[in-house]
């Protein structure tokens, strides 16, 4: 009443204007502008010594033209683009293709005739995912019984044509193996962080190691 509410509102907005910790946009992708103080802090110097050491950069910062790389920190479970796929682990069972709600995974295999004792190994001819239609629900990852397919962790796969969004076997193989820990507790327990530069080997991605012969005999032969 009597304009008290209006004045209170003005106070709230002023508080948000002044307090720097109430900033909304704190991460500016891909880079952010930085002032002299920020630059000096980044190189652990005081601003004056920074100005003397790197005058060009310091002047640029003072003019508001300097920028440094910036990126939103993501959780390791982030479901992102470019699936991490390990051909070594894949058996071509096509569970992922069957489980995909949109049917965008295509798998073509043929029997190889090798390792017939363990039940024939299948050779993958085609494995491609149409990322243009993928909705990143992660059901294919959930379905994979051999932990061969993992969600990726990036989001920078924008392309100019939809055709380029179909990622085939070759690209899946070449892409850096930074699987998201979504639905992969074993990777999470290892402390693997897909946002760092580290890469996960195929032998470490599984929820269990390859069983040794003794274990297999106990399980299968004695029955």
């Amino acid at each position: 009443m009597y304009g008290v509410g209006l004045a209170k509102g003005l106070g709230v907005t002023m508080k948000n204007l002044i307090k720097p910790d109430r900033m909304f946009t704190v991460h500016q992708y891909p880079d952010r502008k930085i002032g002299l103080l920020g630059l000096a802090k980044m190189s652990n110097r005081n601003p004056v010594s920074y100005l003397l050491a790197q005058p060009k950069m310091a002047v640029k910062a003072l003019a508001g033209l300097a920028s440094v790389e910036d990126r939103m920190p993501q959780h390791s479970r982030f479901r992102g683009e470019e699936f991490s796929w390990y051909e070594e682990r894949c058996t071509g069972c096509a569970s992922c293709a069957k489980y995909c709600p949109l049917g965008i995974i295509r798998i073509v295999t043929h029997p190889s005739g090798q390792m017939m004792q363990e039940g024939d190994k299948y050779i993958l001819d085609v494995f491609d995912i149409d990322m243009g239609r993928c909705m990143f629900c992660g059901l294919c990852v959930e379905a994979c019984p051999y932990d061969a397919l993992h969600m990726g962790s990036g989001f920078e796969e924008g392309k100019y044509s939809r055709k380029d969004l179909v990622i085939d076997k070759q690209r899946l193989n070449e892409s850096p193996k930074r699987p998201s820990t979504w639905f992969r507790p074993q990777i999470e327990n290892k402390g693997f962080d897909p946002q760092s530069d580290s890469v996960l080997k195929w032998s470490e991605a599984g929820r269990h190691e390859k069983p040794d012969v003794a274990h297999q005999e106990e399980k299968w032969v004695k029955r």
């Binding site: 295509r106 491609d128 149409d130 243009g132 939809r162 055709k163 969004l165 179909v166």
Partner: protein
């Protein structure tokens, strides 16, 4: 703290007996959960269910239709907010042609308005005496009713970007 209670799901058999006492011949069948009402008596039964003190179904939760190939079944979920009890009444509608019709319940529960329009739009069941029975989700002039089991869909052109 007040003790919580679940919404009481009324027994279809008991309610069926009660309805048929009030409006003889209206209840076709009933089981533990549902009551089947003849489509000609639906309006009278729903008005009875709303106004009768013992039932007091002032709230129409949802209307659905299901295509069982031989017939369409309409499902009405009723709720009494004062008594915290619920009832499911169903009604069957035979035939497949465009002239399928059911009585509209808009004058009993206004909440039936959009839901009946949706059923007409997607299932193709015409509601007699509905004040504004037009398609609601699809556009006027759409061919067919998509939620019917015999709806084949229009020719869909999906480009395959792989080739």
């Amino acid at each position: 703290m007040i003790a919580n209670s679940m919404t009481k799901v009324l027994s279809g058999i008991e309610m069926g007996n009660m309805i048929s006492d009030a409006i003889p011949g209206s209840v076709l069948d009933s089981n533990e959960t549902d009551v089947w009402i003849g489509k000609d008596d639906l309006l009278r039964v729903s008005r009875y269910l709303r106004d009768e003190k013992q039932t007091d179904f002032s709230f129409l939760t949802s209307i659905t239709a299901i295509d069982y190939i031989e017939y369409f079944e309409l499902v009405y979920h009723l709720l009494s907010m004062r008594r915290n009890s619920s009832l499911i009444i169903k009604s069957r509608c035979y035939g497949r042609d465009e002239e399928l019709s059911m009585p509209s319940l808009v004058e009993v529960w206004k909440g039936a308005d959009y839901q009946e329009r949706e059923v007409w739009d997607l299932m193709g069941i015409r509601f007699v005496d509905h004040p504004n029975l037009k398609r609601i989700l699809l556009w006027e002039g759409f061919d067919g009713h998509p939620l019917r089991k015999d709806y084949l869909g229009q020719d869909e052109v999906t480009e395959d970007y792989r080739e």
